[in-house]
């Protein structure tokens, strides 16, 4: 009786559950599939709405050729490819450096706030934490113009360093949030033992705590890299020929390409491919970073 009710009762819910799961997975994945497949289409395939390679349409390297990244053009000189690689390089350097810097100073600050009691004038730990977290509220538009002017004076306009500093600022509150949560879960006894053994505060931090907190740091780093990689607003306003990043290049092509979807698709695909690789391989860390502090 129990078994019968189980199968009779659970069968429809199972179907609905999997149906919804598959539907949503389709909604999530189809745009990505569409972008990658369109980069192999020709004009006819696009206008007639062909969807399945080899069945509907014959894959063609057209989109990738326009980027200079197809097999037959990869060894030839191509100005588009050079442009693309330069933007790609800018994006890689800006996002990795900014994330590393943010994790460096953010971890230290988070550790201090998690372990010691500070008093900077009227500011105590709670206020200092709030001071850092409140930066999340600040919309980029508020900083954009002052930075345009300041960077001009500092000769940092259209440089990678300028971009790195801004991106560090952007992800710093998130890093502090994640790392404070991480340090709060590490028992104090370990450091106390180290301090008794004659370690300095910094020695205990570097030798005992950091190795344990490494997963949290990796999570904070990866989340920061993703956010910096995708950043568009500051990059669009503060960079031009030298330090322009990939999102700005994608955006600038959107208007001009008209219906040559294959090249836009190839460009978009190349811009999101690194993130998809990161997402598939390091999903665990991203989830860890996103959920830090939310569940207590």
């Amino acid at each position: 009786m129990a078994a019968r009710s189980l199968s009779a009762h659970h069968y429809p819910t199972k179907v609905i559950t999997y149906g919804l799961l598959i539907l949503w997975a389709f909604i999530c994945l189809f745009p990505i599939y569409w972008t990658f497949s369109t980069s192999f289409k020709t004009a006819v395939n696009v206008t007639q709405g062909h969807l399945l390679p080899w069945i509907d349409f014959a894959p063609d390297w057209k989109g990738w050729r326009s980027l200079g990244l197809s097999p037959d053009t990869i060894f030839e000189t191509s100005t588009v490819r050079e442009e693309f690689l330069k933007r790609f390089e800018n994006s890689v350097i800006a996002s990795i450096s900014a994330s590393a810097l943010a994790v460096l100073i953010g971890s230290c600050a988070a550790y201090g706030l998690s372990r010691f009691t500070y008093k900077f004038g009227p500011m105590q730990n709670k206020d200092i934490s709030f001071f850092f977290l409140s930066q999340l509220i600040l919309p980029p538009v508020v900083l954009a113009m002052p930075f345009l002017v300041l960077y001009k004076e500092l000769a940092l306009l259209d440089t990678r360093i300028g971009l790195i500093l801004l991106y560090t600022l952007m992800v710093l509150p998130i890093v502090i949030w994640i790392m404070r949560d991480q340090f709060d879960t590490i028992p104090l006894e370990l450091e106390q033992a180290a301090l008794v053994d004659g370690c300095s505060v910094w020695g205990a931090f570097l030798r005992i705590v950091l190795p344990i907190a490494l997963p949290g740091m990796v999570a904070a780093f990866i989340l920061s890299v993703i956010l910096c990689w995708n950043e568009y607003f500051f990059a669009a306003l503060l960079t031009s020929t030298n330090a322009k990043t990939l999102p700005v290049m994608v955006a600038s092509q959107t208007g001009s390409q008209g219906i040559s979807w294959w090249s836009m698709a190839a460009l978009s695909a190349a811009a999101i491919a690194p993130l998809i690789v990161i997402g598939v391989l390091l999903e665990r860390y991203i989830v860890k970073g996103l959920t830090a502090g939310s569940v207590k």
Partner: protein, 383 residues
């Protein structure tokens, strides 16, 4: 900043113990009076040096003296040096307590330099009439920008749109909760679904703008438009009539951000003790009842965190609007950020744009403060 003092009044006993321990160490290390003098001297010297460099450059910039640096970059280096000297001085002065303050010092100095100073500098710009494409350059214009702001129908329209976009967060939350429940159910291939559901969050909004806004929803050849024609909507123009355009933008925004809420809620669900739902089942509650009476109330704190964070992020919404509709048709999809972005980039109207941004910041601060107050009071009433 220089008043770094360690007060062992931490609420947690273990934390106080550690603090006391390191303080004992500080006492044994013994900060000799000459070290305190030393530290003070270092900090004073560095501060004076920094001030002199700034004054020299300021005088040069204003044309009072004829020599100085080519640009202000050396001032940035001087600030870094001053920060390092401050750190040295603190360690010298306070021993172990100084060491402890070194943990937060870099982040504090960095944030102050990058946020506080530019925001106040922005306030100054906001009261000037400054158009980059105009010949005259910057001049003080008093409250004129503020008057213009109050008469700018497009700006208020953009603010009104923000209400719509913020309200859309609640719909995203409902959908995300459903998805989190699905993922938390007893299913196979959970890892695959979780990765698939997370991917949209990771893609750059600019790429999403093209992938979905400009190609999938393209009027003639986009697959979504084709599908809509199949369903009998003859004229599937997603971005030409105001409300449909608004919903289309909200749709794309939801596609990107639902995973964010979903992951937070899923973590909350996974932390729930299994016995709870078992107990509810024994009591004869059906799924619907047990969700509303047990799961949902327990999940409330996580939900509130997720929704509040999401609203804060939503207030910055810009990339998708800039790249898909540029605020059109007729400002129907404009967000405040995208409107100001165009003010900067297309009209080079720096002074006015900054006034709009600073005004928006004030509104945001008031709104978020009220929101947080309301939420904390509400949570206390419920518990």
């Amino acid at each position: 900043m220089a008043e770094t003092a360690d007060t062992p009044t931490a609420p947690m006993p273990s934390r106080a113990a550690l603090s006391a321990l390191s303080q004992a160490e500080a006492v044994t290390a013994g900060v000799a009076p000459e070290r305190v003098e030393d530290g003070k001297r270092i900090i004073t010297l560095a501060t004076v040096g920094f001030a002199v460099v700034v004054l020299i450059q300021l005088a040069f910039d204003l044309g009072i003296i004829s020599w100085g640096f080519e640009n202000w970059r050396p001032i940035a280096y001087a600030y870094v040096l001053w920060g390092i000297a401050l750190g040295f001085g603190l360690v010298r002065m306070r021993g172990a307590a100084g060491h402890r303050s070194l943990f937060v010092l870099p982040a504090v100095l960095f944030t102050v330099a990058m946020v506080i100073f530019p925001t106040f500098f922005g306030l100054y710009i906001a009261f000037t009439d400054w158009n980059l494409s105009a010949f005259e350059g910057r001049r003080f214009s008093g409250l004129k920008n503020l008057y213009d702001l109050f008469n700018d129908a497009y700006y208020w329209n953009a603010l009104g749109n923000m209400v719509f976009y913020v309200a859309a967060v609640l719909v995203q939350y409902a959908l995300a909760f459903g998805l989190a429940l699905l993922l938390n159910a007893d299913i196979r291939a959970r890892k695959f679904f979780r990765v698939a559901f997370l991917l949209p969050f990771m893609l750059s909004p600019v790429a999403v703008s093209w992938m979905i806004g400009k190609s999938l929803m393209e009027y003639r050849f986009g697959p979504v438009s084709r599908l809509m024609r199949e369903f009998g909507w003859d004229n599937p123009a997603f971005f030409t009539s105001p409300w449909i355009a608004k919903f289309s933008i909200a749709l794309m925004d939801a596609w990107v951000w639902i995973p964010f809420i979903m992951i937070m809620l899923l973590a909350g669900l996974q932390a729930l003790p299994k016995e709870l739902s078992e107990a509810a089942k024994v009591d004869g509650a059906n799924k619907w009842q047990s969700f509303w009476q047990i799961t949902f109330p327990i999940m409330l704190p996580v939900s509130v965190t997720a929704v509040v964070l999401r609203i804060i992020f939503q207030l910055k919404l810009a990339d998708i609007v800039i790249n898909v509709t540029s605020g059109g048709p007729g400002g129907a999809t404009d967000t405040v950020s995208s409107f100001i972005f165009r003010e900067y980039r297309d009209r080079s109207n720096v002074g006015y744009g900054t006034m709009l941004a600073e005004f928006y910041l004030v509104i945001i601060i008031i709104f978020v403060t009220l929101l947080l107050n309301f939420v904390s009071r509400w949570m206390r009433k419920i518990n």
